[in-house]
Every structure is written in C-alpha cells, then in structure tokens.
C-alpha cells in the first residue's frame, strides 16, 4: 500500500465524509 502522510496534508482542511464516502481537500486552510 501507499500511504499519504501528514506532511502532505499540512495546511489543507482534510475532510473525511463517511456519509457520502468521500475525502475532501481545501487548500490554505491553516498556516
């Protein structure tokens, strides 16, 4: 398996939507 680690998640708001089964990214959400 590959793994997306937390360095590559920094500053995005990463959304885990377990209802709609989707993962979201919103750029520039925190410094």
């Amino acid at each position: 398996i590959g793994i997306i680690g937390n360095v590559q998640q920094r500053t995005f708001e990463v959304t885990h939507d377990n209802i709609a089964n989707r993962i979201g990214f919103s750029a520039g959400a925190c410094s």
């Binding site: 398996i1 590959g2 793994i3 997306i4 680690g5 937390n6 360095v7 590559q8 998640q9 920094r10 500053t11 995005f12 708001e13 990463v14 959304t15 885990h16 939507d17 377990n18 209802i19 709609a20 089964n21 989707r22 993962i23 979201g24 990214f25 919103s26 750029a27 520039g28 959400a29 925190c30 410094s31």
Partner: protein, 405 residues
C-alpha cells in the same frame, strides 16, 4: 507556466523552519478544537522529544504496522494483563508512530481536560484513569478520576458495547478493553461510559471509552488517544447521530503554529472531493484513489495501476508519504532533475533526496501535484519538504521497499 498554472514554486527557507515561539492561528470557528504538534512550542512541554532521525524511524515502524494490518500477516496473538489475575487477548496492532498531533478534550461531569493524541488510523478511545490499578505513565494533566465524575459508569460484560469489542475481557461483570500497539505499548482497563466534551458547544453523554488501568509504552505524556477511524467506537462514529459522520482537520505547516479539528460539517465552503474507498483488507482505515503525480507540470509516466493495484491509505499518524517503488523512483528522478542548481546533502534515514540550502535565502522547486480520482491536489512547499536544518532539507516522500507493499 502550463495552462496558466505555475509549474515552479518559490519559498523562503525561513518560512519552512519553525520559530521558537508559538504563533497560534485564529480558530476558524468556535466549535473547532485547536490542534498542535506535540513536540513544538505550542504544546505543553512533553516528557521527551524525539529527534528527527528517531521520528523518521518511528514513522517507518508505523508504516510497517499498517502494511501488516492490510496484508493480514499477523505477528501472532498477544496477551495483555490487568493485574496478575486477569488477562485478555490482544493482537499486536498499529504502531503509534510519533503521534504527532494532539487535541485537548474533556471527560466527565464536571469536565476534566485531557490532552490526547488524535489518529485517523485508530479506533478505540482511551485515557489513563485513577486508581491506576497496575501502572500509569506520567502525563501533563492530572489523571482522570472516575470517582469525581457524577456521570461515569463502567460497561458490563453483557452490554453490546462490550461484546462488539475486538479485544475484551471481564472482571466479574465489568467489561475490560485492551489495546496493544505494534511497538509493544499497551493499555488495558475498564470499558466506560461518561460525558465527553469536545468543545463548549459540543458535549456528548454516553460516550464510550477505555478507562486505562495498565498503561505502558511510548505515549510520551499524552493522557490517551482519540481514534477517528471507521469502527463504531471512534469519536466520529459515536457522535454521528448528532453531527453526522463527518470530520475535518487542518494540520499546521510548522510546530510553531496551530491547526484545528472539527467534527461535523467542514468549515470551508470550497472543498474538492475524491471518493473514499473501503478496502476489505482493513475496513477501518481510510483508502483514497491516488492515480498519478505531476512534478513541475509534467505527469510522471506511470500507469494508474501502479498505485491502484496496491491501494493508498490516507493517515494522520504517518508523517512521510510512502509510494510504490516505481512511483517514488520516477518522482525522485524528476524532482532531482529540476533541482540541479542546489547542492545535495546527505540522506536522512528514509529520505534520500536532501539539499543544502545554507547559501540560499529563497528556493525554487518544482510544483508537485497528487492526482486523485476527480481531484488534483497541489502541495504547498511545506508539503514537499521535510526540514531537518537549512543544511539538510529533504524531499518529504519515500518509497516502499517492494512493489507488493
């Protein structure tokens, strides 16, 4: 530029390095929780702080344990003890890794603050509890005392909450939980129910968690752990009826700033989505459909099956992204080709592409995009580099050791 988008980025070296003081970010909403890197200036002083090489070594162990969970190769059953009389079976599981990010939440009535690791790769919530019948490690806040909470109660062995636990036992009629982590760290105690305070406006009664009485290992001062995985015991699953089973978090770029965790609808309105995949090999982990990578505006010549044949997890507790060997090799080659103006520095553990930027105030680097189904994610500079020092700034990706991992 390609299609109007920059294919190279520029960043001041100093902006990648954490400052000595804490510069907390403004909370985006009153109902979100601050997230801090546990070893940085925004966190309370931890018991021990690993250096970069120790952190990367721990990260490799976490990755190895995730690989084992997905591959189904068990390291055998283990037994964890509560006192000398009671033992319960517990499979060795996830390695905690650096447990990088912590939040502060409340347990009991009246509420008592406890700073805990949060982890999308874990499912069982637990904190250390008095009377610590067997063992507790030191933590920054006072230990949670069930006797001081008017709403605390133990779960009985006959309760469904107990029967559905993977690793459980009984002491008389009281349900015991146990978690053994891949590094041998473990927690055993009473399965409990109490009020849980996420924020002042998000308070939940009947929250199920482990009240740890025998806690050992590398938790380094955190009071416990909050799991954000996909099992019914995770925080998000337990709060789903009122908030929906949705959460979002923002991890700060350095340890001197803060991020947030939000349970419920995302705080941002501009969220771009890709499908969340369920993989029967590890149904409580979050899989995501990575299909390609671009470096400096050019897509690496890799078939999507390079990624899809093995699958990809997204995990808050793993530090460095791991790629299939062919993908990492192509990424490294393309990245190095675009960075020839900078002197290479020695490798750092698993990071084999490092540069010496001591003679540069600003660095120019090829933009990296991760391509998911229906979504392109452009990494900021802080998502490309792992900074050990200005003399050793490394590409923050690593390859798995074989293509079947």
């Amino acid at each position: 530029k390609a299609n109007g988008e920059s294919t190279f980025g520029a960043v001041r070296i100093t902006s990648l390095v954490p400052s000595l003081g804490c510069s907390p970010s403004k909370a985006p909403g009153h109902s979100s929780l601050p997230v801090v890197q546990r070893n940085g200036p925004c966190a309370a002083k931890s018991v021990s702080k690993p250096n970069h090489l120790q952190s990367l070594a721990q990260d490799s162990l976490r990755v190895a344990s995730l690989q084992e969970i997905v591959s189904g190769v068990s390291r055998g059953n283990d037994t964890v003890l509560l006192g000398s009389q009671i033992s319960i079976p517990a499979r060795s599981g996830l390695y905690l890794g650096t447990g990088n990010y912590v939040i502060t939440v409340g347990f009991g009535t009246p509420t008592k603050s406890q700073t805990v690791i949060f982890d999308t790769g874990s499912n069982v919530n637990w904190i250390q509890c008095k009377p610590c019948l067997v063992s507790c490690y030191s933590q920054q806040e006072p230990l949670f005392d069930p006797l001081l909470s008017s709403t605390y109660r133990n779960v009985t062995c006959a309760a469904s909450a107990c029967l559905e636990l993977t690793s459980r036992g009984c002491s008389g009629t009281t349900c015991l939980y146990g978690v053994t982590y891949g590094d041998g760290s473990s927690t055993v105690g009473f399965l409990a129910i109490d009020t849980f305070t996420l924020t002042s406006t998000k308070v939940f009664s009947n929250f199920i968690f482990g009240c740890g009485q025998n806690n050992r290992g590398l938790f380094r001062g955190a009071a416990g752990l909050i799991g954000l995985g996909r099992s019914p015991y995770s925080l998000n699953s337990q709060t789903a009826s009122s908030l929906g089973n949705i959460f979002s978090y923002c991890l700060p770029s350095t340890s001197s700033s803060t991020g947030y965790l939000n349970i419920g609808n995302p705080l941002r309105t501009t969220v771009a989505y890709t499908p969340m995949i369920t993989d029967s090999r590890a149904p409580t982990l979050y899989f995501i459909d990575l299909v390609g990578i671009t470096v400096g505006g050019t897509r690496l010549e890799l078939s999507p099956t390079v990624f899809q044949s093995v699958g990809t997890i997204i995990d808050s507790g793993t530090v460095i992204t791991r790629l299939p060997p062919a993908a990492y090799s192509a990424l490294r080659t393309a990245f190095r080709a675009a960075m020839t103006q900078y002197p290479l520095a020695p490798a750092a553990s698993i990071l084999d592409t490092c540069y010496d930027f001591r003679n540069s105030a600003t660095l120019t680097y090829p933009v990296i995009k991760l391509l998911y189904t229906n979504l392109e994610v452009t990494l900021p500079a802080t998502g490309v580099f792992y900074v050990i020092s200005s003399a050793q700034v490394c590409l923050a990706f690593a390859g798995n050791s074989d293509s079947s991992q």
